[in-house]
C-alpha cells in the first residue's frame, strides 16, 4: 500500500490525543486511516461541504488578491507596525515546480532570497518539508510572509467569521495547532539560514463580521508549538512501537474487517470521546472501548473520577458494595448508590403533584 503522506491537519491532530499509541503508529507508518476505518466497517464521518470549500477558496483569493497588498498590510499592521510599510513593489515570488520535493526546494530558495533582500515578501502556498518518523511530510500553509527584518510569519486564512473581533474559540484553537506545525517546519529551514527567524505569533485572517472583508488577529502559538514538537519527537520512536508488534502485521485495507480489527487491536489505543472530533478511527475505537466495558467511553473525566475502577462492571460492583473497605473511590460510589436509591424511592412515594407550600423538606 502506498503510504499516505501526513498533512498538517493530521500532524496537528496528534497533539489532540498525545497518549494514543495506535494513532502514533498508524500515522507514523503512513496508513490511510480513512480507508482503514472504512475497511473496518466504521467509516469516519468527516466530510466537508462544498459550500464551505467554495466559500473558503473565494475568501482566500480575495485576501491574496491585488498582489497580496491587503495581506501584507494586515501583517504589517498587526505584527510589525514599526517596520517600513509594504509598498506597491512587494514581492510575490513564483513557487511553481514539479512535485512536492521540487516545490519545497523552490520555497526554500525563495525564503533565502527574500531574507537576503530585506523586503516584504509574500509566499503564496509555499511547500514545506518536515521530517516525521524518518520520512518527509510535505506541508502547504496558506501563506508565509517574510518581513524586512528577516522574520517569517505564518498566515492562516480561515473562512469562519470574526464577529466584533472575536471568533469561535474551538476553531481558533484548531487553527493555532495547525499553524504550529507550519512554524516547526519553517524553523527547520530557518536554522540553516543566518538572519532568519520564525515568529511564534501567527496571523489569523478571517472574514469580518458578516461581510467578505478580511480582518486579522495575531495568535500566539508557543504552547501549541511545544506540544506538537513533543508529539513529533514521540513519533520518531514509532519504529520502537512497531518493533514490539507481531511479525507480518499489516493494515492493508484489502484484508477482511476481522483481520484488520485484530491488527489494529495489537496496538494500544487511548480512546476518549474527544477522538470523535479528531480521529478517523474514532467509531471503531469507540465500539471497542464500549465492548471492553471501559468507563473512558463515558468521558475522560469519568475515567479520572473512578480511578482504579476502569470498567463499568467493576464500578457498578463497587456501587453495590464490593471492595469498599480497600478503595475510597469504591466506598464513595457505594455511598452514592445508597443515596441515589433512597432519593428515587422518596420521589416515587411522593404525591404526583407538589402542593405549592409543602412543609416537607425535600429529603
Amino acid at each position: 500500500m502506498q503510504p499516505r503522506p501526513l498533512d498538517a491537519r493530521a500532524l496537528a491532530a496528534l497533539a489532540a490525543n498525545p497518549g494514543c499509541g495506535r494513532r502514533a503508529l498508524l500515522d507514523g507508518a503512513g496508513v490511510d486511516k480513512n480507508a482503514l476505518a472504512t475497511a473496518l466497517g466504521s467509516p469516519a464521518a468527516f466530510g466537508q461541504s462544498q459550500f464551505a470549500i467554495v466559500r473558503g477558496n473565494s475568501f482566500e483569493a480575495k485576501v491574496k488578491g491585488d498582489g497580496g497588498a491587503e495581506l501584507l498590510r494586515l501583517v504589517h499592521g498587526h505584527l510589525d507596525p514599526a517596520a517600513e510599510p509594504p509598498g506597491a513593489g512587494a514581492r510575490v515570488p513564483d513557487l511553481t515546480a514539479a512535485g512536492p520535493e521540487g516545490r519545497a526546494a523552490r520555497t526554500a530558495l525563495a525564503l533565502r532570497e527574500a531574507t537576503a533582500t530585506r523586503d516584504w515578501t509574500l509566499l503564496d502556498h509555499p511547500m514545506l518539508a518536515l521530517e516525521v518518523a524518518g520520512s518527509p511530510a510535505y506541508l502547504e500553509p496558506d501563506a508565509v510572509v517574510v518581513h524586512p527584518d528577516g522574520r517569517w510569519t505564518v498566515v492562516e486564512i480561515k473562512s469562519f467569521p470574526m464577529i466584533d473581533a472575536a471568533a469561535d474559540a474551538a476553531k481558533v484553537g484548531a487553527a493555532a495547532r495547525q499553524a504550529a506545525v507550519y512554524v516547526l517546519a519553517l524553523e527547520r529551514t530557518a536554522e540553516k539560514l543566518a538572519g532568519a527567524e520564525v515568529g511564534h505569533t501567527v496571523l489569523l485572517v478571517c472574514p469580518k463580521d458578516f461581510s467578505n472583508l478580511p480582518t486579522a488577529a495575531p495568535v500566539d502559538v508557543r504552547r501549541e508549538r511545544a506540544v506538537t514538537r513533543r508529539q513529533l519527537e514521540r513519533l520518531t520512536r514509532v519504529e520502537e512501537l512497531a518493533a514490539a508488534l507481531p511479525e507480518g502485521l499489516t493494515f492493508d485495507p484489502e484484508r477482511t474487517a476481522e483481520e484488520l480489527a485484530e491488527a489494529v487491536s495489537a496496538v494500544d489505543a487511548a480512546y476518549a470521546p474527544e477522538c470523535l472530533a479528531a480521529c478517523e478511527l474514532a467509531f471503531h475505537c469507540r465500539e471497542r472501548a464500549r465492548a471492553a466495558d471501559e468507563v473512558t467511553a463515558l468521558g475522560r473525566s469519568v475515567r479520572g473520577e473512578l480511578g482504579a475502577l476502569t470498567t463499568v462492571e467493576a464500578a457498578l460492583a463497587a456501587a453495590s458494595g464490593a471492595g469498599c473497605a480497600e478503595d475510597p473511590t469504591a466506598a464513595a460510589l457505594h455511598r452514592a448508590a445508597r443515596l441515589r436509591a433512597e432519593a428515587l424511592e422518596l420521589a416515587a412515594a411522593r404525591p404526583r403533584r407538589h402542593v405549592p407550600e409543602s412543609p416537607e423538606c425535600p429529603c
Binding site: 472583508l213 468521558g299 432519593a343 422518596l346
Partner: protein, 527 residues
C-alpha cells in the same frame, strides 16, 4: 462530573436506557412554547438556509431560501421570520400585573419601593441544540445593527422594517440564555440532559437524535443501538437517517442533494433572466425542489424537539422553577420597556462595568439555581449530601433552652442522627438551614457527638413568644434535612436597581450611550 451523575451514567450503560437525573422538572415550560428549528449554510456566517417555527407541532411555519447567497431572498426570509417570531414575542407585552421594585431615590439616596408593572407571562423559545442557541445569538448580532429604509433613506441596502427589532430580541434571548436557570431560550438537548443521564458521554449527548434514543428508544432495541442508528445510520444514497439537529447540515446532504438542487435553481433563474419569455414555471419547480430537500432535513428535528418537550413536560414541575421564571418575566418586561422607550440596540461589546455585572449576575444565579434545585428535588439533594454540603437524618433528641435576656426567646438544641458526613468543623459555629413552610430556618452547628450525631441550636422562625410556635421545632423521630448552603442566593436585593440592572434584565439606562454605528454594508456583504 459529580459522582452521582457518573453513577447514573454507569447504570444507564447497564440498563441500555437513560436513567433519571432529576425527579422533578427544573425548567419552566410554557403552555405555548415557540419552537424554532433553523438551518444554516456551511461556510457562511449567518446565511440561513431555512427555518421551521411555530407553537403547534402539526402546523409549523416553514421558510426556505432557495439560494442562500442571494441578499434579497435572505431579507425576505428574515422579514417573514421577524413577523412571525415578533408576533409571538409581542403577544405577552400587554398583559401586566402591578408589581413593586426597589430603587435608590436619586435625591435622598435611600432605597424606596416604586410601583411598576410586570408582564404576567413571557415568551419562551426552544431550539433543538446548544448550537441553535448560539445561532440565535448570531442572527441577533447580524440583524440588530441593520437600518431600515425609514431610519436611513440613503441606505442602498435597507433592511425590512421588523428585522432590526428581531435582532434586538434574539440578542436579548441569547444573552438571557447564559443566565443559569433562565428558561426564556432553551435547547432540547440541554433540557433532556438536565433530567436524564445516558450511557454515553456528554459530548455525544449534544446529538439530539442520539440523546432521545437513549431516553425513549423506538422499537424494542437498547438505547445504545438506537443511538448508534441515530448518529450514523445512512440510507442507500448515503444520506443520514436522522439528519443533524442543525443549524449545520450534513456535508453529504450538501454535496449530493442540496448543491445540485440550488444549481438547478440558479440555472432556471438565469434562463428566465436571459429570457425571451417570462414563464417562471422552471424557477418555481426548482425552488420547490430545494424547499422539499430542506424541509426534509428540518422536519425530523422539528418532531424530535417536540418529543423532547413532551418528555420533560411529563415530569412534575419543580416548585422553585416558577420563582426563576418570574425573573425571566422581569427580564422580558425590562427589555420590552427599553424597546418601547426607543433605546438603541445592545452594544457590540459590553463596557467593563456591564460585563462585570453580567458575570456577577450569572454567579449569583448559579448559586441560586444549585440551591433551589436541591431543595426541589431529593435526587439533587442526594448529590449535595454526598458532597458533604447537606445532611439528612432523624431527630433523636430536643432540649429546650432560651436566650438569657429579659424576654427570653427559644433556642432549642436538636440532635440529629445521620449517616451523611457533612463538612462541619467542630467549634466553627457554622450555620445550617432547613426549609420550613418553604422558608429557610437557620440553626447553628454546636458539636458532633461521639457517635457522630449532630447537635444543632435552632435560631429563628419560632415566633415572638417564649414558647416556640407549634410546628416550628422538629420533634423526636422527625426526619429532617439541613443544608450547609443558604437557600436564597446571597448578595444583592431580590431585584436589582434599574441603574444596577444587569443588561440581561434590561440594563442600566444610558449604558447604550456608546455610538451605535450601523454595520457597514457592502456589495461583498453576505448578510
Amino acid at each position: 462530573m459529580p459522582l452521582l451523575s457518573t453513577l447514573a451514567r454507569l447504570e444507564a450503560v447497564r440498563a441500555g436506557r437513560a436513567q433519571p437525573l432529576a425527579t422533578v422538572r427544573h425548567r419552566h415550560l410554557s403552555e405555548n412554547p415557540l419552537v424554532f428549528v433553523p438551518l444554516t449554510t456551511a461556510g457562511e456566517a449567518g446565511a440561513p438556509l431555512g427555518a421551521m417555527v411555530g407553537t403547534d407541532p402539526n402546523e409549523p411555519r416553514v421558510f426556505v431560501i432557495p439560494q442562500p447567497r442571494d441578499r434579497d431572498l435572505r431579507w425576505a426570509f428574515l422579514a417573514d421570520l421577524a413577523v412571525h417570531v415578533l408576533a409571538h414575542i409581542d403577544a405577552y407585552a400587554d398583559a401586566v400585573e402591578p408589581a413593586e421594585r426597589s430603587e435608590t431615590d436619586p435625591e435622598t439616596g435611600k432605597r424606596v419601593k416604586v410601583e411598576t408593572e410586570l408582564c404576567v407571562d413571557a415568551p419562551q423559545l426552544i431550539v433543538p441544540s446548544r448550537a441553535g442557541i448560539e445561532y440565535v445569538r448570531l442572527l441577533g448580532r447580524s440583524m440588530r445593527f441593520r437600518r431600515t429604509a425609514e431610519e436611513d433613506p440613503d441606505n442602498p441596502y435597507p433592511a425590512p422594517s421588523r428585522v432590526p427589532l428581531l435582532g434586538r430580541w434574539f440578542t436579548h434571548l441569547g444573552e438571557r440564555a447564559r443566565v443559569p436557570g433562565s428558561s426564556m431560550l432553551l435547547s432540547a438537548t440541554d433540557l433532556l440532559a438536565r433530567h436524564w443521564a445516558t450511557g454515553q458521554s456528554n459530548l455525544e449527548d449534544q446529538h439530539l437524535g442520539a440523546l432521545l434514543a437513549w431516553i425513549a428508544p423506538s422499537g424494542g432495541g437498547s438505547g445504545a443501538e438506537a443511538a448508534l442508528r441515530a448518529e450514523l445510520g445512512r440510507d442507500e444514497h448515503g444520506q443520514l437517517l436522522c439528519p443533524p439537529a442543525g443549524p449545520a447540515t450534513d456535508p453529504a446532504f450538501d454535496n449530493k442533494l442540496l448543491a445540485p438542487a440550488i444549481a438547478r435553481y440558479d440555472a432556471a433563474r438565469a434562463a428566465l433572466a436571459a429570457g425571451p419569455g417570462d414563464d417562471d414555471r422552471e424557477v418555481r419547480t426548482a425552488e420547490r425542489a430545494v424547499r422539499r430537500l430542506v424541509v426534509d432535513q428540518m422536519s425530523s428535528t422539528w418532531w424530535a424537539t417536540w418529543e423532547a418537550i413532551d418528555l420533560v413536560r411529563a415530569l412534575p414541575p419543580g416548585e422553585r422553577a416558577e420563582e426563576r421564571w418570574t425573573r425571566d418575566r422581569w427580564s422580558y418586561t425590562g427589555h420590552r420597556d427599553r424597546v418601547r422607550a426607543g433605546e438603541p440596540p445592545q452594544p457590540r461589546r459590553d463596557d467593563a462595568v456591564t460585563a462585570a455585572q453580567k458575570l456577577a449576575t450569572r454567579e449569583t444565579e448559579q448559586v441560586r439555581l444549585d440551591a433551589q434545585e436541591a431543595l426541589d428535588d431529593p435526587l439533587v439533594m442526594a448529590g449535595r449530601r454526598l458532597a458533604g454540603e447537606a445532611f439528612a437524618g432523624e431527630v433523636t433528641e430536643v432540649v429546650m433552652e432560651w436566650t438569657e435576656s429579659k424576654r427570653p426567646s427559644p433556642r432549642p438544641l436538636v440532635t440529629v442522627s445521620t449517616e451523611d458526613r457533612p463538612q462541619l468543623a467542630d467549634g466553627s459555629g457554622a450555620k445550617v438551614y432547613r426549609s420550613l413552610d418553604g422558608r429557610p430556618q437557620s440553626a447553628q452547628f454546636v458539636r458532633f457527638e461521639e457517635d457522630g450525631q449532630v447537635v444543632l441550636r435552632l435560631l429563628d422562625k419560632m415566633g415572638r413568644g417564649r414558647d416556640p410556635e407549634p410546628g416550628s421545632v422538629p420533634e423526636k423521630g422527625d426526619r429532617v434535612c439541613w443544608t450547609l448552603f443558604e437557600h436564597d442566593a446571597r448578595g444583592g436585593p431580590k431585584l436589582p436597581d434599574p441603574e444596577q440592572t444587569p443588561w440581561t434584565h434590561g440594563g442600566p439606562p444610558g449604558s447604550g450611550a456608546a455610538v451605535h454605528l450601523p454595520d457597514a454594508v457592502t456589495d461583498e456583504d453576505i448578510l
